[in-house]
Symmetry: C2
Subunit: 359 residues, 2 copies
């Protein structure tokens, strides 16, 4: 088992990475300081891993909330169902919430923990590659709104993150690729050697080679932990983790949550960002081609949905958390391995990029 | 104008107390750092004070969200309406939310600000005595749930609190008394000289004497600011501000939100707490009588609703933020002017107190 640390003063916490961590009673006991424990999971993950986690929690007062699987259920309404259950069971403010699932469960469970009685303890047990390398680390929690992704939420740090690499065995190929999109992101924004390692080792990752996956998860978490430690509330460098996300969120919201996996939309969005970076003279054509090629090698889409028009993109992108006074700002690449801070984009160039891609 | 300070390191902020502060453009401009401003208010307050505030904000992009008046609208559903409006108007994360109203508007507006895009700036403009002396100070935000009061929320500090004492001229008598309940609370939990001042000067307060009101507000805010600075997240002494609230919340939830004003329920709840403190030998009979007498002098109720049975109290009190592992804990008085920390009450004594009062 590897142990990394997210360094946030009195909100610091460990990330554990390794096989069969879910079953480790000691590891959980170290971080659960209450009798009352609620596990939040979804209909796909619960049949696979809920009982193992429950066995590791024998002796606690356990409750379970199961949510349907998919981005379309990441809503205030479903967070409300978690509150209903906790209140019906008279859960106290010292209770612990464990989020067992992918990014949707982690985001919702974390937001429920942030708001229930103004904040209870929570533990992230991410079960997708995307959640293990990205969404479970750093304390961003929240839900979607019909008009914008992750528009309602809180910064709220977990007690620990338990990334059991064994659960990736049952992850569908499409979900594995979606996770790799965020892995590639770390290479692109701040870690060129890792990007080059990914170019060489993509087939090992897709074949779920244990060592390659473990290395990619650890290196991704290390990158994420460093960025978050530097800028917990995203007043600066943390925004670079949003490479491709402004375009990606517009796609997810525009075609309806659940159509694209988040990582798929980010892959497409990153191709937009690369194109725009090229128009600004920051990336060469060869760089843009390498970015497109690595996503294709990871079996990720690089072409946006035909249904999206330029106006629709602009409309959706004008609600984004990086915007200031309603003006669109995006993360671009100054070079391979080096992200920009949020950029106020020249509308003409932005439209050129969108027209280049829009349906 | 008086200026107090809530000392919370990088989350510190001023409380301004004085007449005609609402109209002061400079005061607002000092704390609004965005072009986009949304005012959240209710149907009673908006016709009285919204236009004055809007005039003080000329030059900003202004939006307004008006919510029906009453505790029964302090729900996740109505917070959702604030999110809808902000997203429709494409409000950015650097926007400012101004809560113009009593405790309900301050709590909901603050919670909306805490969660919109994971947190935007907000300003409290409390328009009831209760909000000016208590709920607008200290960063507790949130909404009610059918099963428990203030069960969903966040600790989230405002940029400043602007307590315009002029607006109290239009406050209904019932609301004035409800605010005095929380003023009395400060005397009871930590400021015996203030309690004695209140015993002597209650009729001045009820007659809305300017100097008496200004003094009561300032001294209450000073007490609150000291407690909050010592314990922002209520891991200790801040819980003493909850004197009477465990019983009071049970009454509010039990008979239906909006039947009792919060301060009315707190007055009754404090009589319960006094009775229980007496049973523990902490308060003498004369102390209990003084507490009951001062609430009566403030035109506040001291007898609970007949509809509430002992079982109903116990059931409702078993969801309270002070509870640990589901066990009921309450704040009591060790003496007049000295509150206890949360106490695990002997169930027999608790039932005796409840039976003494229940219908």
């Amino acid at each position: 088992m590897k142990e990394l640390r997210v360094d946030l003063k009195d909100r610091s916490y460990p990330i554990y990475i390794g096989a069969s961590l879910l079953q480790q009673q000691d590891l959980l006991a170290r971080h659960v300081h209450s009798k009352q424990v609620v596990i939040v999971s979804n209909e796909t993950i619960a049949p696979l891993y809920l009982s193992a986690l429950q066995r590791a929690l024998i002796g606690y007062q356990q409750e379970t909330v199961i949510i349907p699987d998919g981005e379309q259920y990441k809503t205030l309404e479903y967070v409300g169902k978690i509150f209903d259950h906790l209140l019906e069971k008279k859960f106290s403010r010292n209770a612990t919430l464990i989020a067992l699932g992918g990014g949707v469960i982690g985001d919702m469970g974390g937001f429920a923990a942030a708001c229930y009685q103004r904040g209870i303890a929570f533990i992230q047990v991410p079960t997708t590659l995307l959640a293990q390398v990205d969404s479970s680390v750093g304390g961003k929690t929240g839900v979607n709104h019909p008009l914008g992704k992750n528009m309602i939420g809180a910064f709220y740090q977990p007690q620990c993150v338990i990334a059991d690499t064994g659960v990736l065995k049952t992850l569908p190929d499409r979900q594995l690729s979606a996770g790799i999109a965020e892995v590639i992101k770390y290479g692109l924004i701040r870690d060129l050697p890792f990007f080059e390692w990914l170019e060489r080792n993509m087939s090992l990752l897709l074949n779920r080679d244990d060592d390659a996956l473990a290395y990619a998860i650890e290196r991704s978490c290390q990158n994420k932990a460093e960025v978050v430690a530097e800028d917990e509330y995203e007043s600066g460098v943390r925004a670079t983790l949003n490479l491709g996300h402004t375009f990606g969120h517009a796609i997810e919201t525009g075609v309806g949550y659940g159509q694209y996996l988040h990582g798929e939309a980010v892959a497409i969005g990153t191709c937009f960002a690369a194109d725009l970076s090229h128009r600004l003279g920051w990336l060469g054509e060869a760089d843009v081609a390498r970015i497109s090629a690595i996503f294709k090698a990871a079996a990720l889409p690089v072409i946006p949905p035909k249904a999206m028009t330029v106006d629709r993109y602009i409309d959706l992108m004008s609600v984004d958390k990086k915007n200031v006074d309603g003006k669109i700002r995006v993360i671009l690449l100054e070079a391979l391995g080096k992200a920009s801070l949020p950029v106020n984009v020249d509308p003409t160039l932005l439209e050129q990029t969108l027209e280049n891609y829009a349906g």
